[in-house]
């Protein structure tokens, strides 16, 4: 018989089944004709169903046919026992879905390294490594010195990531920008999709700011229109001219999960960051904010590069003792750095371990839940199994049907989990205002599917093996319909599962309590001034294209109109709100009513009542009368 007819026979009742039946019927008739009574003739014939089955198995691929019937039976049994099926699928869906989503996010944000072409030849440079001063990046003047004085590298580039407001045709929106030097593309090993990159002339303050649009942003915000090249766009109100479209493969040079919307030339900093302490960053040796990446020259090792950097570092410490206290410059292979070598990555490893432990624990609890369900169900089925054994099913048949159920459940659970994880991912990414490049991690999905299968099969098989060994007669009489008859071993297994679950849940509960407590105590922390009843409105007139003089006018008018709103007690404007979203600002409370940025510039109260209006000694009732306006967080108010 051809393979095809065998295959097709596998999925329908064989047509010659009728013939075999007739043939056996004829045999029986002949026996009776020749004098046997009916009972005897039947006894002599044996079990016709068995014979038919044996013949049928010859005509089809038995494994395939029985697989199909196993699946059919599993579906039928599960739909009959739908409460169990739904519970099991839900447990699996949560276990698989949520864990996959969380692991995907953790992996994308914390674990996945940046994948540059030939990244093994790339190194990151850090100034002042080891000192507790914040991001031990490299200052721009130091970058210039490094780039000019070494032949260990074929190229060095400095990158400064930031967020900014892009004034598009539909209004202002938050975008991610990366200021980059002219050497950026050569060092990282990319080619532009269109247009040109920055020149060395654009590496310094002076010429007009230039921009290269990120490939995906070009596709989404600019509808893949090449016409944008050569035009002028406004970022933070400052005009920058578009030179080209970024590499299609590069989403960000600072973090693998980020989507950089615009690369800006160093010459754009003065205009785009006009309001912030960063305006003069290119000339400040004390601002070690740049991420510096370098490509090793052929034949130069990391150790040799480090030796070359030691020389430069000593010279810098010598020439600029006030800004470079002689901590040197460290060289790290780019592949070895996730976010930041030293402190950053140590903390990262800790956080990752904790998150992963929680994920594993949740998964373990889900699995043991499932295991208990399957176990209890399996032991409750002893009677059904013994009936099936009695009417001629082999042990292997029963085990196979258990397996079919487990696999079916696992697959259903994984499918539901997949849906759930895509939802969760969408929800998590929607929580973050910045656009992230996070794709569902299919390896994790495969791993959790494997785990679900192992759990289903392991705990489906255990009762199957056990139940098929039970005392047939006792079970048939219904004496052992419950799990009680299944022996002591059952109790220990179930108890172990139960104890494990309780312990795991308890541990998670305590952990959650600590987290909640921490968040609560953070929220109830006295900042030193009254936050109740204070609403923050963020805006920047410059983004709309107004000049400095006009801006002042607008802010004054804005204040006047807000003050006129019934219930508003006091209004003031500031260039930086305390405990806001602005990076690296410190506030001083108690000794005076000003707060200072670490960069030596005081946040300026532009007009309105002094900061004492924020002081907590005001009567509570008065504060409460203030209207609550939606608080928008924008870095610069004026």
């Amino acid at each position: 018989m051809s393979l095809w007819s065998r295959l097709s026979n596998a999925f329908r009742p064989p047509s010659n089944d009728e013939e075999i039946r007739d043939e056996l019927e004829f045999h029986l008739t002949m026996d009776k004709e020749l004098g046997q009574n009916d009972r005897e003739a039947r006894l002599r014939l044996g079990n016709p169903a068995r014979i038919r089955e044996e013949v049928r198995e010859m005509h089809s691929i038995p494994a395939l046919e029985s697989l199909w019937s196993d699946v059919k039976h599993a579906i039928r049994r599960l739909s009959r026992d739908w409460q169990f099926a739904i519970a099991a699928v839900l447990i699996l869906a949560f276990g698989i879905g949520v864990n996959t989503a969380i692991f995907t996010v953790v992996n994308a944000l914390l674990l996945r390294p940046l994948a540059f072409p030939d990244s093994h030849r790339l190194v990151n440079l850090y100034q002042n490594v080891g000192e507790r001063a914040d991001p031990a990046g490299v200052s721009f003047p130091a970058y210039r010195d490094i780039a000019a004085s070494t032949d260990a590298f074929s190229g060095v580039t400095a990158i400064l990531p930031d967020d900014a407001q892009y004034q598009g045709p539909t209004g202002s929106q938050t975008v991610l920008v990366e200021y980059a030097t002219s050497s950026f593309l050569d060092v990282l090993g990319y080619k532009l999709a269109a247009g040109r990159w920055f020149t060395t002339a654009e590496d310094r303050t002076g010429p007009e700011g230039a921009a290269v649009i990120g490939y995906r942003t070009w596709q989404t915000k600019f509808a893949s229109d090449y016409g944008i090249i050569g035009q002028t766009i406004r970022i933070n109100g400052a005009p920058v001219s578009v030179l080209g479209i970024g590499p299609a493969q590069l989403t960000s040079a600072t973090h693998p999960a980020l989507l950089t919307d615009f690369w800006l030339s160093m010459s754009a900093i003065a205009g785009v960051e006009a309001d912030s302490f960063r305006a003069e960053i290119l000339d400040r040796r004390g601002e070690m904010s740049f991420e510096v990446r370098a490509r090793l020259k052929d034949g130069i090792s990391v150790t040799q590069a480090q030796a070359a950097m030691d020389v430069v570092g000593r010279r810098l410490a010598n020439d600029h003792p006030d800004t470079d206290p002689g901590k040197g410059i460290a060289v790290f292979p780019t592949d070895d750095v996730v976010i930041h070598p030293g402190e950053g990555d140590t903390l990262l490893a800790l956080v990752t371990t904790i998150v992963m432990a929680i994920v594993a624990l949740v998964l373990a609890i889900a699995c043991s839940n499932l295991a208990t369900l399957v176990l209890v169900r399996g032991s409750g089925r002893a009677r059904e199994l013994s009936v099936r054994l009695a009417i001629g099913a082999t042990r292997w048949h029963l085990i196979r049907s258990f397996l079919a159920e487990s696999v079916l459940l696992s697959l259903l659970g994984t499918a539901a989990g997949f849906v759930l994880s895509t939802w969760t991912l969408r929800y998590i990414t929607a929580l973050i205002p910045i656009r992230f490049d996070i794709q569902l991690d299919y390896r994790v999905l495969a791993f959790t599917l494997g785990l679900a299968l192992a759990t289903g099969i392991g705990f489906g098989l255990a009762p199957a093996l056990r139940s098929t060994r039970i005392d047939l007669l006792a079970a048939l009489r219904g004496e052992s319909g419950s799990s009680l008859s299944l022996g002591k071993g059952w109790f220990t297994l179930k108890n172990a599962l139960l104890v494990g679950q309780v312990a795991g849940s308890f541990f998670l509960l305590i952990g959650t309590a600590f987290f909640i407590r921490a968040v609560w105590s953070l929220q109830s922390q006295e900042p030193g001034f009254a936050v109740q009843g204070v609403a923050l409105v963020g805006t920047n007139a410059r983004y709309a294209g107004y000049g400095p003089a006009e801006s002042q006018q607008i802010y004054r008018e804005l204040q006047r109109r807000i003050a006129a709103i019934p219930g508003v007690q006091a209004v003031f404007a500031t260039s930086g709100a305390p405990v806001g979203s602005s990076v690296g600002r410190e506030i001083e409370v108690g000794s005076g009513s000003t707060w200072c940025s670490r960069h030596g510039r005081a946040g300026q109260t532009i007009s309105g009542p002094p900061l004492s209006a924020w002081h907590p000694r005001r009567p509570r009732s008065a504060r409460r009368r203030g209207p609550r306006k939606p608080t928008r967080r924008v870095r610069h108010l004026a």
Partner: protein, 115 residues
């Protein structure tokens, strides 16, 4: 199918032999094998019909539905050319083997067969 494998020779050869005399249905075959073997070989339906189908599939037999002696339709089996060839070859082999086994038993003496 290791279980049926052992009986296969013992059942296949008598079937082929019976059918060489002319087409027959399953019941008739079982009866004549039993008769020809002086009631030693009792052919169970449970092994006969699967064997007939297996042999048909292997091309040793062909079958058709015909009226039987009692007037009812029955499936009649007939030997094919390949079946004849098989009977000849396996028959020789069977003779050789059974003669050899008989010889060994004779040499081993009564204690070898257990009395």
């Amino acid at each position: 199918m290791p279980k049926t494998e052992t009986i296969q020779g013992a059942l296949e050869l008598p079937i082929l032999k019976v059918l060489r005399a002319g087409p027959a249905n399953g019941y008739a075959m079982a009866a004549s094998i039993q008769q020809m073997s002086d009631e030693v070989l009792r052919v169970e339906a449970g092994s006969l019909y699967p064997a007939l189908h297996r042999m048909t599939e292997a091309g040793l037999l062909k079958s058709e539905w015909r009226k039987s002696e009692i007037g009812r339709r029955a499936r009649f089996y007939a030997i094919t050319a390949r079946g004849r060839k098989k009977l000849e070859a396996d028959g020789k082999k069977w003779h050789a083997i059974s003669a050899a086994v008989a010889k060994v038993l004779a040499v081993a003496g009564p204690q070898g067969v257990g009395g």
